[in-house]
Symmetry: C2
DNA sequence: CCAAAAGTGTTTGAGGTACACCCATGT
DNA sequence: ACATGGGTGTACCTCAAACACTTTTGG
């Protein structure tokens, strides 16, 4: 105990957020090895030698969740108390945001059993992953208020209604259409593409794109 | 390369902020072992077996910087590329805020050579510590805007002028006295102690205390 | 009575909030 | 012609910003 330097295993845990069925959800995978077989967990990857932390996180995202090149950001670093005392585990948590046009139904094509769970309805999860998911959720909600995170849920081009919808779902309250548009356009982070999208029996919607894709801007 | 799981050494690096001589400064220590002997670095601690991450950070703060029970928060986790490829180092960075009444001059009483450096005037530092200090600085400035961090620089009781001074120094601009007072009092995070402090040839200042000491509140 | 910091109100402008109707399209 | 979501303007209110003088103390 104490004195001698600890050697640790390091893993990255990813909270993958997506907007499905008008709900904010996180993607979980079924554990496939003991001792937690068949319980749900966040997608994760063990850090391999020579590998960078972020590379490890992106690998986990790709291999276990089936997503590539989506926005990802480091969340927090936790320690995992292991059965074997003296061998520490360090878990660096990230969260990732998947644009809604890339959420395949019934799910991404990995070899794993995956499921999307609403943030009010998370199942019990291995290794304290639930509190990680909840922390990521709080962070996401907070960031809505002072950054352009919400744009990361949008495809390359999107309508203002779709964007407003994302805001409403994430912060859980209805917004006034006119005020939302005035506000978001005044911010100057999005611009018209010039195209429109026809969808159903209604007037076509103008399309917008982010001016600074894959970059988070601070607002106000 | 790849495949086999990496074992890592873990350390915590602490960015200790203090307000001295009307400047925001960070405390650095002289490295006392090779190969970086005599270059400046952030206070840091190697994680020992059985030790928690935060405990490790507090130990580093106590042993190397000489401070205890100050506000500390995790900042970010970095990887340290080492000379020996295959042995990863993970550095979990924290930042700490020291109330101005506890900044002994000429410095805290540890066995180490320490120095306070203004954030515009950081020396070159070992192991990429400079970018860590700068990230901590950005985070601190950002948090001023949406939380009560500034209170962590205050002693148990303080005057409104002292608090205003901290804001001015951290965000580097003068504030209007009346507007500042209206704003900070309306937030409701501080309250009068009932006492005053006489200092020099001037009217005594009313003292205030934090309502939620050692807790960060979000504002607006 | 002078120096030094503490303390205190009012006016103005910007931006956020509330609110209801017409438009373009497909069926 | 009707159903569906897309799109637009105005009045009000709240809060942030600008701004100058009086008060209390010690020397």
């Amino acid at each position: 105990m104490g004195r001698e330097q600890a050697y640790c295993t390091v893993s990255t845990d990813i909270v993958v957020f997506g907007i499905l069925e008008d709900k904010l959800k996180a993607l979980l995978v079924k554990c496939d090895d003991e001792p937690e077989r068949d319980s749900w967990a966040l997608p994760y990857g063990r850090l391999e030698s020579g590998e960078g932390l972020e590379a490890c996180a992106y690998r986990a995202l790709r291999v276990q969740a089936g997503f590539e090149s989506v926005y990802m950001e480091q969340l927090y670093t936790f320690e995992e108390r292991r059965r074997d005392p003296g061998v520490h585990g360090i878990a660096v948590a990230y969260y990732a945001l998947v644009p809604f046009d890339r959420l395949g139904v019934p799910g991404p094509d990995t070899g794993r059993t995956v499921g999307w769970f609403g943030l009010g309805a998370l199942p019990s999860m291995a290794r304290g992953h639930r509190k990680i998911a909840e922390m990521a959720h709080r962070r996401l909600v907070a960031k809505l208020g002072y950054s352009t995170v919400a744009l990361q849920f949008m495809p390359e081009s999107f309508t203002l209604s779709e964007l407003q919808n994302a805001y409403e779902i994430i912060q859980g309250e209805r917004l006034d259409k006119r005020n939302f548009r005035k506000w978001v356009l005044a911010l100057g982070h999005i611009e018209k593409t010039g195209d429109e999208r026809r969808a159903g029996n209604c007037r076509p919607a103008k399309l917008y794109r982010s001016r600074f894709p894959s970059r988070l801007e601070f607002i106000k």
